[in-house]
């Protein structure tokens, strides 16, 4: 990656948002928790080596156990790394994190818009895609309206033809498609 130009972003804010050490330790804790849950649930359904081989929970139980043990080691190793004060590595800088969120948040809203959340109905994947691509191009790409509309409508229309008409794979649709009688 280093070979590529990084002239983007203008005045980048390189202050770290989190240290490598913190994230490393937190990840180890999360994996430990997953391991514990896996081991516990497997123990519940039977984790012994029965008369005719292992029971349903046998392998998952040990998988959970190994997850726990290895994440303890990873946790200790993480604590041994240098903290910020000692000049430790940064996990992600503030400006980079901002960039990541600028993609992550629209994507999450996009997925929520496809299928809806709880009682709120979704608008379907095609309408959501039009808006998503348009927002991305206008806001992050600073493209003009003409180009933006062309791409943001063209791509979902292509996918509609491809999936619904050609391959008959139904994707989530919303009120607009119902109104046009396309669902």
């Amino acid at each position: 990656m280093s070979e590529h130009d990084k002239e983007s972003g203008g005045a980048a804010d390189d202050t770290p948002a989190a240290s490598y050490r913190t994230i490393d330790a937190v990840t180890a804790v999360v994996i430990f928790a997953i391991g514990a849950v896996v081991a516990w649930d497997s123990y519940r359904i039977g984790a012994k080596w029965g008369s005719d081989g292992p029971e349903a929970g046998y392998f998952p139980f040990y998988i959970g156990l190994i997850l726990c043990i290895s994440s303890i080691v990873n946790f200790i190793n993480a604590l041994r790394e240098k903290s910020f004060a000692e000049g430790g590595e940064s996990f992600v800088s503030k400006s980079s994190l901002r960039m990541v969120f600028s993609v992550m948040i629209p994507t999450i809203i996009y997925v929520a818009a496809i299928g809806g959340v709880g009682p709120v109905p979704g608008v379907g994947i095609y309408v959501a895609s039009v808006i998503f691509i348009a927002v991305f191009m206008l806001w992050l790409g600073k493209y003009g309206w003409g180009k933006t509309l062309g791409v943001s409508i063209g791509v979902p229309v292509f996918f509609f033809l491809m999936f619904e008409i050609w391959f008959k794979v139904p994707l989530p649709k919303g009120p607009l498609e119902a109104m046009l009688g396309l669902d």
């Binding site: 649930d41 029971e55 691509i133």
Partner: protein, 501 residues
Amino acid sequence: MEEISSLMHGFAVALTPMNIGLMMIGILLGVLIGVLPGLGGANGVAILLPLTFAMGSTPAGQVSAIILLSCIYWGALFGGAITSILFNIPGEPWSVATTFDGYPMSQKGKAGEALTAAFTSSFVGAFIAVLMITFLAPMVARFALRFGPPEFFSVYLLTFCSFVGMTKSPPFKTLAAMMLGFALAAVGLDTVTGQLRLTFGFTELLKGFDFLIAVIGLFGIGEILLTIEEGLNFKGTEGKMRMKVVLETWKELPKYWKTSLRSSAIGCWMGITPGGATPASFMGYGVAKKLSPNGANFGKGEIEGVVAPETAAHAAGTAALLPMLTLGIPGSPTAAVLLGGLLIWGLQPGPLLFEEKKDFVWGLIASMYLGNVVGLIVVLTTVPLFAAILRVPFSIIAPVILVICAIGAFTVHQSMFDVWLMIIFGIIGYVFKKLDYPMAPMVLAIVLGDRAEDAFRQSMLASQGSLAVFFSNGLVGSITALALLMLFWAPLSATIARLRR
């Protein structure tokens, strides 16, 4: 030789202008399907199946119909590599191993070379597999019958072992990643006892974690998040876009003939048993890394790292048609749909198909040769086109890729829950990559975890809990021994090197 004359007869059946036209259509359609994650070969074949019923009333028509369908299958095999190389998103499960070196190559501006290598290797793998089908079909079908649960388990063990020691990540992070993969694979219904495991009462978890969703998230979304950190300028540099790239790459490829042969052998074997194209691609990559002099550079954009998995995957995908025709067991979902097609034409796959429907079988085998030649020509002409996609600015291509990922995740089970899972896997992929948790062992564990466990426990049921079953006959014993050899390859080869000195 009887096979040669049968094959020549097959060529006579298959080689008509209409059939060649159908091949081109099939290949193009297949490539399109292969490119989009979520649309598998099974979709394409299933949609065209009804169209082909009209053709299937005469023997010649049946051959035309199966040519069209199988060419979609070849096209999908070819096409799966494209998004793996360009965007780190495997279009098909068997293309995951292609991302390991294919994507780094395209980041270095060598997308054209990587695509050419992938397509050409696919062709070589398929060609060798077809040769095997032509001349060894009856023998090979008998070999497949020798595979019971212990043999299957030893094959999976071998796949894992050939992959051990591949990453340079901290050992306990590798272990944690792999175990996480196994844990995800265990979610859902346990085949052997019929019990639900790790579902915690959520009906969404009944179907378990699909490999494709994990991969789209971990590789595709994770990669976009990593890229975006660097800012919005698209990193992919412009490679050479001209057809010359194809010829230049071809000059280089013969150097890797050993890897090609090895991967073809692995692919044929895995296709017949039927372990499938996905384990074959992983095993092909793992073995090549261990045995190749360039092994240390694998993962950094080594062309041999593209050749090895692609050859194996395509050889396996082709060889998988043999057990389908002779035993009626499909080696992949696509093969299963093809099987459904054969049934409606009144062709019942089974041991007698080769005797009772000679025209059909040899026409199909001849079309495998022709289809792959046509396929190679078609896909190679698309290399400059696909390489050009990399020039599209990131702020346009990124949302389109995200849309494709969402569609892909949804179509696997027609479930929005899976799309959310994909997002979560994306975040996991981003964090893991930065923290140096290796993704490959995790993905491998998701793919093979439950299959390996089923085979192990079926073996244990049969042997009344005795582990000796894994050495109970020559076949299973030698595969298990080979697996253990692979497992201890690194210390062993180090010792041997020291002794030589």
